[in-house]
């Protein structure tokens, strides 16, 4: 049995631009709802009137605490102060916000301020029987998974490969309570100093051929011609010879353990 806190942010739909649940934050809430928790505290720092917060409540939360602050303020200090008073065993967040600075720094800064460990890119958490530690599974590239053991308390960021979030239901979304706590937050000077403009896609860099080798002709060739392997050719070997040749080739490439 653990005490879980979930940090939720407001996302932005990539096409319509409307406020929505941030996808990995919704997955974090889904994971929290599946943990054997004695208490689940959902926290949001920002505008308590945002309609997207109701979508989180519609997933089955009774209440959501909003640390009310103006847009463009740094939410780390108020969040850390609030979490310190709760002292949860596990803090769950998405690994990247959607619609703000989107740097993925907030969980790290919160963990650093609280002085607890951080585990990135989590897809599953199993709390050990004693409740003192947890077995955590991380998603890696190429569909691989890595398991770790972490002592409580810790902060975990949830990877997009985690189980998808349940849909939001209308009734619970209406019934859920939003508790607004006004807080003082310092303005974010670094972000204010950056110049913001609408994003425009850049042409994709053509990365054919080895860097710095050959001119336009080589690039054209690499882009248009079918690649030819510099092949070994075995004509009519016995099945066992063929199997051995393939096996050795696979081992050499490193896809089979030696």
């Amino acid at each position: 049995m653990v005490d879980v806190a979930i940090l939720l942010s407001v996302g932005r739909h990539p096409v319509s631009g409307r406020a929505r649940r941030a996808p990995t934050d919704a997955r974090a809430l889904e994971m929290a709802l599946g943990l054997p928790a004695v208490r689940r505290t959902a926290l949001h720092a920002g505008d308590p009137a945002s309609p997207a917060l109701r979508d989180y409540l519609g997933m089955g939360l009774d209440r959501l605490t909003v640390l009310a602050m103006a847009h463009g303020c740094d939410p780390v200090e108020p969040l850390a102060a609030h979490l310190r008073s709760l002292s949860p065993g596990i803090v769950l967040t998405g690994n990247r916000a959607e619609g703000g600075e989107d740097s993925g720094m907030l969980p790290y800064r919160v963990a650093h301020t609280l002085g607890v460990a951080i585990v990135p890119d989590v897809v599953a958490i199993t709390v050990e029987a004693g409740g003192g530690a947890a077995e955590v599974v991380q998603a890696l590239a190429r569909g691989q998974r890595r398991a770790l053991r972490v002592a409580l308390p810790f902060v975990a960021t949830i990877h997009p490969a985690a189980p998808s979030a349940r849909p939001s239901a209308f009734g619970p979304a209406r019934r859920g309570r939003i508790d607004s706590v006004p807080v003082e937050a310092p303005p974010d000077a670094f972000l204010a100093a950056c110049a913001a403009r609408p994003w425009r896609d850049r042409p994709k860099r053509l990365t054919v051929g080895a860097p710095g080798s050959g001119g336009a002709l080589d690039r054209l060739r690499a882009a248009t011609e079918a690649k030819a392997g510099q092949g070994r050719l075995l004509v009519g070997p016995s099945p066992d010879e063929a199997a051995l040749a393939i096996y050795e080739c696979l081992q050499e490439q490193g896809v089979l353990p030696r």
């Binding site: 790290y108 890119d121 990365t207 063929a242 096996y247």
Partner: protein
């Protein structure tokens, strides 16, 4: 030019005759000895062959001529990277002895080898360093690579074991200690999964902001994507940056000295993340575009039980050509090719696939292709790195047997 060459002068027979003339009256008399031939002349003679030879900038792989007269012959030209045969010549070693500042390029070395992304990070650091007169320090787990050829002036080796094991906390502590000791002007990371994690850990340890996932970089401005992908944030390159994949072109032929600095002290303290181990995953559950090792069946495969057993025995993701998916032997999301999935596997083992252009398009990014086919003239055989002319139905069970003998599956 041709004026210096004695034979390249235009001869003027009239002037020669006049010079040899000793007497005109009553009869013209000429001196016939050679040394009287005058060295003066009219217009310089044009030697088209020599002119052309001098205009040649490059002859392989393709002839290029420069008639502007500025070209001084191929041999005397400075090496321009990526131009024909001159690219093959060794670049000159550039030594930066007394740098104005240091820049850290913190490299990932995932799976014990430098990735393309790591090279791009070095190229980005080089770009900022050249603008500031600084030196690039590659901070990387010790390995065999020649980092000088990738643009590193200095190397700060971390323990080699950290490349394989999952030790983000110790890595971050070591990098933070090195930053405190050398106070570099910029610290660049790769915005990959592990590199991004390391960058954020280092940023909080130094108490600084990270400009994460830089998409475009020049010495005056760094820009990244924010606001759910809708806005671009730009500013002068801050101290800590992480570089997104394919945002910066890797360097061409360069040579720097890669002088080793003393490694930072090993951090002490017990890491909180412990007992990291890879979990076995179901290869068929992995998306085809992500899969690392694919065994693929074409119309030449009839024994589908053996094919399934082979996938299990080798731990490979199963896929097929369009014919196979059309026939319902494999689900549609397992189709490789132009109208299926473009795969990026390291290894592609193909049984009974002819290698239609639409199929070959799908395996353009594969590192190594092994093909088994009964037809010696199939296009797949030409593409393959190891081609075997044999019956797929006989080779598949033999390979399953061999893999089981060696203790797989």
């Amino acid at each position: 030019m041709s004026e210096q060459h004695p034979t390249a002068r235009r001869r003027d027979p009239r002037a020669e005759r006049a010079a040899r003339t000793v007497r005109v009256e009553p009869r013209r008399r000429l001196v016939l000895s050679v040394d009287v031939v005058p060295q003066t002349g009219g217009r310089p003679r044009r030697d088209p062959r020599a002119r052309r030879a001098e205009a040649i900038v490059q002859s392989v792989p393709r002839l290029r001529l420069d008639w502007t007269g500025k070209a001084v012959g191929a041999s005397a030209l400075p090496t321009v990277e990526g131009r024909g045969p001159r690219a093959a010549s060794e670049p000159v070693l550039r030594v930066i002895d007394d740098p104005a500042c240091l820049l850290f390029a913190v490299l990932d070395r995932p799976d014990g080898a430098l990735s393309g992304h790591d090279r791009q990070v070095l190229a980005a650091a080089r770009l900022l360093a050249d603008a500031a007169g600084g030196a690039v320090v590659a901070v990387v787990p010790d390995g065999g690579e020649d980092l000088g050829a990738l643009g590193a002036d200095r190397v700060l080796p971390l323990p080699a074991a950290w490349a394989d094991e999952y030790a983000p906390e110790r890595r971050a502590a070591a990098v933070a200690a090195a930053i405190a000791r050398w106070s570099p002007r910029h610290i660049l990371f790769a915005e990959s999964q592990d590199g991004g994690d390391l960058a954020r850990r280092v940023a909080v340890a130094c108490g600084e902001r990270l400009f994460a996932g830089v998409e475009s970089l020049s010495s005056a401005r760094a820009a990244r994507r924010a606001g759910g992908g809708a806005t671009e944030l730009g500013c002068a390159p801050p101290r800590l940056l992480s570089i997104a994949a394919d945002a910066v072109a890797p360097l061409g032929a360069v040579r720097h000295e890669a002088r080793r600095l003393d490694p930072p002290p090993e951090p002490d303290g017990v890491p909180a993340l412990q007992g990291a181990r890879r979990l076995p995953v179901d290869p068929d559950g992995v998306g085809l575009g992500e899969a690392d090792f694919i065994v693929s069946a074409g119309n030449g495969v009839t024994d589908w039980d053996a094919f399934a057993a082979l996938g299990r025995a080798l731990g490979a993701t199963r896929a097929g050509s369009r014919v196979v998916c059309d026939a319902g032997h494999l689900p549609r999301d397992r189709q490789v090719g132009a109208s299926g999935t473009v795969v990026s596997a390291r290894c592609y083992l193909a049984f009974g696939i002819a290698g239609a252009p639409q199929h070959l398009q799908g395996i353009g990014g594969v590192e190594r292709v092994i093909a088994v086919n009964t037809d010696l003239h199939a296009a797949m055989i030409k593409r393959a790195d190891l081609a075997i002319i044999a019956d797929a139905q006989a080779v598949m069970p033999a390979l399953v047997r061999l893999a089981r003998e060696r203790g797989h599956g």
